[in-house]
């Protein structure tokens, strides 16, 4: 058989290497910027509102407020003997289980859509046709979501710090506040990992984001119904907030059973690694 292949006149030299950094990570953060920006904006507004309304809050009976349904949201009704009022309201507005629903939901959607969106629009084919392994792609997206969590937490802490500088009587006991942030970090780690697992198994961005968000909603409902009565108390063990009750740490100024944090950490690792294993084996269709 013959062909008319022409001999090369000037050979192609082949690709010339360049530093590439973490292109998938930066691209993922860029794609999630709207969601993360909205979450951070909400935190900023709520934090500043709490600071502004602090004088009005002083007239309320906070201990009474912390009982009943609010107790379910924060995982307990105990109030520390010297807990600052500003810290209590910050805990209620930004660190209760509703925080997990709101910001966990945002993060879950971003993580859930992160891979599936690229499969849906076809750009993952171009990415994987480059010298980027599936493991690297997955891990960079995972780290991007963890960075997203860090950005949310940093905004929260920064907002609280600014409030303490700007508003009179806006004081915090930083030890408990930071420990509460550690609790939230653990929850967001679990959320990001779960989102990545969902994303690794699906091929439609919005659907994957929606499924991941629904999981967070389920966890939130587990917390609220699980603490509402004895018959459903088993439900609270299914949600991560039971293991990392961030608002309770601030209001009660207690950090009991820190080993419980290992549960969501381990669950997050298992879900994240399961997603990685599945993503490496699957067909991108």
């Amino acid at each position: 058989m013959t062909t008319s292949v022409v001999a090369p006149t000037r050979a192609i030299s082949g690709p010339k290497p360049r530093a590439r950094g973490l292109p998938v990570l930066t691209a993922t953060l860029y794609e999630s910027r709207s969601l993360l920006g909205a979450a951070c904006g909400y935190i900023l507004i709520i934090g500043l509102l709490v600071g502004l309304l602090l004088p009005a809050f002083k007239t309320l009976n906070i201990q009474a407020y912390l009982t009943g349904s609010v107790a379910a949201l924060i995982g307990g009704s105990a109030l520390g003997a010297h807990t600052p009022l500003f810290a209590v309201y910050m805990a209620l507005e930004l660190y209760g289980s509703f925080f997990m629903l709101l910001f966990g939901g945002v993060l879950a959607y971003a993580a859930g859509a992160s891979i599936a969106r690229n499969i849906e629009d076809g750009t993952i084919d171009i990415t994987l046709a480059r010298p980027i392994s599936r493991a690297r792609l997955y891990l960079e997206k995972w780290v991007a979501m963890l960075l997203g969590s860090a950005i949310i937490l940093a905004t929260s802490m920064l907002t609280a710090w600014v409030c303490t500088l700007v508003f009179t009587n806006a004081t915090l006991h930083w030890r408990w506040f930071l420990l509460a942030n550690l609790d939230v970090a653990v929850i967001l780690f679990l959320v990001a990992s779960m989102g990545l697992l969902v994303s690794a198994t699906m091929s439609r961005g919005r659907a994957a984001g929606g499924v991941a968000t629904l999981v967070v909603v389920f966890w939130y409902l587990c917390q609220t119904f699980g603490t509402a009565g004895d018959r459903l108390s088993f439900l609270k063990y299914l949600g991560p907030y039971f293991y990392a009750p961030s608002a309770q740490v601030i209001t009660a100024e207690q950090w009991t059973d820190p080993w419980k944090l290992l549960v969501p950490v381990a669950a997050g690792l298992i879900l994240g690694v399961a997603g990685l294993v599945y993503f490496q084996r699957r067909d991108i269709t």
Binding site: S4, G14, P15, P17, R18, R20, G21, A129, R130, R281
Partner: protein, 321 residues
Amino acid sequence: MKAVGAAGVVVDVAHLVKTYPGKPPVRAVRDISFQVERGEIFGFLGPNGAGKTTTIRCLLDVLRPSAGKITIFGLDARRDALAIHRRVGYLPGDVRLPGDLTAKQFLNRYSRLAGSEPVLLGSLLERFEIPLNRKLRGFSKGMRQMLLIIQAFMCEPELAILDEPTGGLDPLGQRSFNEFLLGEARRGLTVFTSSHILGEVERTCHRVAVIREGELVAVESIERLRERAGQLVLVEFADDVPEAELRSIPGVQAVERQKNGSYHVKLAGSIDPVIKALARHTISRLEVEEAPLEEVFLKFYAGDDKNDREAHLGAEGDGPA
């Protein structure tokens, strides 16, 4: 230039099978084998749903073959995917570009992902003019295709895998791309391209494979296909020549008498017996032209090739000489 596989084979697909799970399972690719040589432009043709894109995505390890082996540059397409992908440029057939990026940001992103300098970017931008600072959501279909062409070639790959590369390009753009492709092939670039534009395939490809319903029905050089397509001879005699005489010439497939008395003769194989036979008469006009390949392709597409199919695949042997 880095080493390639044995005998200059860049792409070696052996007994590739890809079945999508489902009820019933979809057998998208069924035991296909072919090779692509270095510096060759290899066309991969077939009707919609024939298995072209599935094959391409298996080459890139985006899809995992159900059976068979793919070797690129002598390396295993799955195990050594990263080493292979350093040397490959890919142009997808169906992709939705991120509209919030500018062309410049998009090219920079994919150059970074490649870990390679976009050394050909300047020359590609001269050939395929696109507004670098405009958001991609404002790009026309043709501009998006040019951008994808640029990203596929900017890092100077040794192998280009192209899925419908000229879709959306205007005729000028298509011609410019074909010229570019032929030039790069002369420099040693190997090209594996799927296409629906048969004329373009005829002009640019050295060899083609035709896939239909997941099965390879032909792997042929363009020359061989041209031979199969035959030639069209228009002949006008000064004297009266009976049609039966023309039909009796070896290699003549069909004879059609025109109103003006001239003949259209469809010829397969060598023209020599025809010339010798015609020389016995006084000829007032003679034109010879190659029959368009389109008919051959369409015959494969439509499945009217059962008699010839074995011969087409058998003729492939171990690839081009």
